[in-house]
C-alpha cells in the first residue's frame, strides 16, 4: 500500500475510541521473558497507565511472533494514540529534545541489554538461551534460541557494537545513565513540572528499562550503574508516588 493510503487509513483508525478490551501480549513472565522484552513491556504499560487507558497484560509463549514488525512495543508507544496528544504541550525545541532522548534510550540502553543477553557468552548460555527456548520442545527450542542469538549478533555487528568488549558496553551504559540523570536534574519529570499530557513517552521508556534492570536477572551488572545515579532513581520513585494506583500496578508486574 502506498504511503498516502496508509496515512489515510491511520487517520481513520485514529478517530476510533480506545477499545475496552485492549490487550498487551508479552512473553511468559516467569520462564521465558528476557530483560529487553520486559523493559519494552513495562514501558508500554507505563505509557498506557499515564494516559489513563485500560490494558490487560496477557502472557503468551509466542508473543514475539504475533507482531509482524518485531518492534511492537516501540512503535506502539510512540505514535499510536491519536487523541492523546502527549507532545502537543511541548514547543518545537522540546519536542526535538524529547525525540533525541528517546533515541538515546533505545540506542544505548536497549542495545546494551541485547548485547548483554546475547553477545556475552556466559549470559547467553546460562540465561538467555534456556529462557528463550523454555516453552518449546527439543529441538525446536534450541533452533529458535540459536536463530535469535544469530539475529541479535548480526544486528550488533551492523551497528558497530560487535567489536565492543563488556567493559566498553558498561562504560556506554554508565555515560547514558549520567546523561539522563543530568537531564532530569532535580525536576520531577523530563520536560515539564506537570504530569501526563506534558509527559511524553520518553520517561515511560526509561522507566521500563530502569525497572527491568533493577528487578531482573542481571542484577550484579547493570544495577551497579543505576545505584550510581541516585538523583535519577529518586525522581523515578517520585513518578511512582505521583501516579499512585496507576504505577503501583506497573511496579507489581
Amino acid at each position: 500500500m502506498s504511503l498516502a493510503a496508509e496515512a489515510f487509513v491511520s487517520q481513520m483508525a485514529a478517530a476510533e475510541p480506545w477499545p475496552e478490551n485492549a490487550t498487551l501480549y508479552q512473553p511468559l513472565k516467569d520462564d521465558q521473558i528476557l530483560l529487553s522484552d520486559h523493559a519494552s513491556s513495562l514501558s508500554v504499560q507505563a505509557y498506557l497507565r499515564m494516559c489513563g487507558l485500560p490494558v490487560q497484560v496477557v502472557c503468551r509463549a509466542n508473543a514475539e511472533y504475533m507482531s509482524p514488525s518485531g518492534q511492537w512495543c516501540r512503535n506502539w508507544a510512540l505514535g499510536y494514540f491519536a487523541g492523546h496528544s502527549l507532545s502537543d504541550a511541548l514547543d518545537d525545541v522540546q519536542r526535538a529534545e524529547m525525540k533525541a532522548y528517546m533515541e538515546l534510550v533505545y540506542n544505548m540502553l536497549l542495545s546494551a541489554e541485547l548485547y548483554l543477553q546475547w553477545c556475552d557468552d556466559a549470559t547467553a548460555v546460562e540465561i538467555s538461551r534456556p529462557r528463550y527456548s523454555s516453552p518449546y520442545s527439543w529441538p525446536l527450542g534450541k533452533i529458535l534460541a540459536y536463530q535469535k542469538q544469530w539475529e541479535v549478533r548480526r544486528k550488533m555487528n551492523a551497528i558497530g557494537w560487535g567489536g565492543k568488549t563488556l567493559e566498553q558496553v558498561y562504560e556506554d551504559v554508565s555515560q547514558c545513565c549520567q546523561a539522563l540523570s543530568q537531564r532530569l536534574g532535580t525536576q520531577p519529570y523530563f520536560f515539564n513540572k506537570q504530569y501526563v499530557f506534558c509527559l511524553p513517552s520518553c520517561p515511560c521508556c526509561l522507566y521500563g528499562h530502569v525497572a527491568a534492570m533493577a528487578d531482573r536477572l542481571l542484577k550484579s551488572n547493570l544495577t551497579y550503574f543505576l545505584n550510581q545515579q541516585r538523583d535519577y532513581l529518586a525522581c523515578l520513585k517520585l513518578i511512582h508516588q505521583r501516579k499512585a494506583g496507576h504505577c503501583c500496578g506497573v511496579c507489581k508486574t
Binding site: E6, V9, W76, R183
Partner: protein
C-alpha cells in the same frame, strides 16, 4: 612532547575536505578543538581495503571510529566540549543518538542503495579513488555493507526487502532534519557561539548531503529548504576549512519564514501519520476485519510514491 597524530580518511571533493561522513566528523572536531592532525587520505592506496576508515594513529595506538577518536582526543585535552554544562553534554549524546538512528539509514540509502545515485555518483567516485584491481569491488562491498546495515536495523525479519522500509527511513530522516533545524534556530552553532562535538557530528552528516551532486534525492531537496542547516554547513566550511584566513561569522538576523514553518509542519504531520500507520497496518488479525473496504478502495485508487 606529544606524538604526532595521523588521520587516515577518505579524500575530499564537492568542496568538502572529505566525502565520507565519519571522516568529516573527525576532521571538523579536530578543527574545533585545535588538534594538529596529519591527514593521510587512503585514496589510491591498499588501505581502502584494509583500513577501517576513519583511523587515528598516534604512536603505537590505533583508534577507529569517530566516537572513539573523539574520546581519544578529549583524553589528550583536545576538548571542544570543555565549556558545555553537564546538561548540554547530555543533550549532545541524545542528539548524536538521534542522528545515528534516524538520519544515517537514509543517508546510506541515498548514496549507496538508490540506483541512480549509486551508479552516477557514488560508484564512479569511489572506484576512481581506489587502486587497481580494488576499484572493481570496493564500491560494491561498501554498498552491500550499507544495505545490510539498513535492513538489519530497520527491516522486520529475515525475509525483508528494501522497498518496504524506504518510505519509513526517508520520513524519519526528514523529521530528523526538521528537529535539527528547530534546535539550531538562528544560531551559528548548537551551543552558544563556539562549535562543539555535536556541531562536528551534524556537519559530518549534513555536508555530503548538501554538497554532493545527486541525481535524485528528495532528502537533499528537503535539506535545501532548511536554510539554517545549509547556512550552518557553509559557515563551518568558510570559517574552518577555507584556504583563506577565516573570517568571523556574520550575525544572523532573519527568522524562519512562513513557508519554512509550513514545510516543517507538513513533514512532521507526515512522519507522525506514518509512525501510526506502521503499526496500524500490521495490527493483529482481529483488527483487520474492521476496515476491509477502506483498504481495498485505497490500494486501487492511490499510486505508489516512495518518499
Amino acid at each position: 612532547m606529544a606524538a604526532a597524530m595521523e588521520l587516515r580518511c577518505w579524500g575530499g571533493d564537492w568542496g568538502l575536505p572529505s566525502v565520507h561522513t565519519d571522516s568529516l566528523v573527525v576532521l571538523a572536531y579536530a578543527k574545533f578543538s585545535g588538534a594538529k592532525l596529519t591527514v593521510s587520505p587512503v585514496d589510491w592506496t591498499w588501505k581502502t581495503l584494509t583500513a577501517a576508515v576513519p583511523e587515528l594513529v598516534c604512536g603505537d595506538s590505533v583508534v577507529q571510529g569517530p566516537t572513539q577518536i573523539l574520546n581519544f582526543l578529549r583524553k589528550r585535552r583536545l576538548n571542544a566540549d570543555y565549556e558545555l554544562t553537564a546538561r548540554q553534554g547530555a543533550d549532545t549524546m541524545a542528539y548524536i543518538a538521534l542522528l545515528e538512528e534516524k538520519l544515517r539509514p537514509a543517508l546510506l540509502h541515498t548514496f549507496w542503495v538508490d540506483a541512480e545515485n549509486y551508479s552516477n555518483l557514488t560508484r564512479p567516485w569511489f572506484a576512481s579513488r581506489s587502486p587497481f584491481p580494488l576499484n572493481f569491488f570496493i564500491p560494491s562491498r561498501l554498498a552491500s555493507v550499507a544495505l545490510a546495515r539498513i535492513l538489519v536495523t530497520k527491516g522486520e525479519g529475515l525475509l525483508h526487502r528494501i522497498s518496504e522500509v524506504e518510505g519509513k527511513i526517508y520520513s524519519d530522516a526528514k523529521e530528523c532534519l526538521n528537529l535539527l533545524s528547530y534546535r539550531l534556530g538562528t544560531a551559528n552553532y548548537f551551543f552558544d557561539n563556539s562549535p562543539t562535538s555535536l556541531d562536528a557530528f551534524v556537519f559530518g552528516f549534513l555536508a555530503p548531503l548538501h554538497k554532493a551532486e545527486l541525481a535524485s534525492s528528495p532528502l537533499q531537496s528537503h535539506l535545501r529548504q532548511l536554510d539554517n542547516l545549509t547556512r550552518f554547513c557553509d559557515n563551518i566550511l568558510a570559517a574552518h576549512f577555507s584556504a583563506d584566513k577565516p573570517c568571523p561569522l556574520p550575525p544572523v538576523q532573519q527568522t524562519m519564514d512562513a513557508n519554512l514553518q509550513k514545510l516543517t509542519q507538513l513533514v512532521n504531520k507526515e512522519s507522525n501519520l506514518i509512525e501510526k500507520m506502521d503499526d496500524n497496518l500490521r495490527s493483529s488479525p482481529q483488527h483487520k476485519p474492521h476496515r476491509p473496504d477502506a483498504k481495498a478502495s485505497l490500494s486501487s485508487s492511490k499510486s505508489s510514491t516512495p518518499a
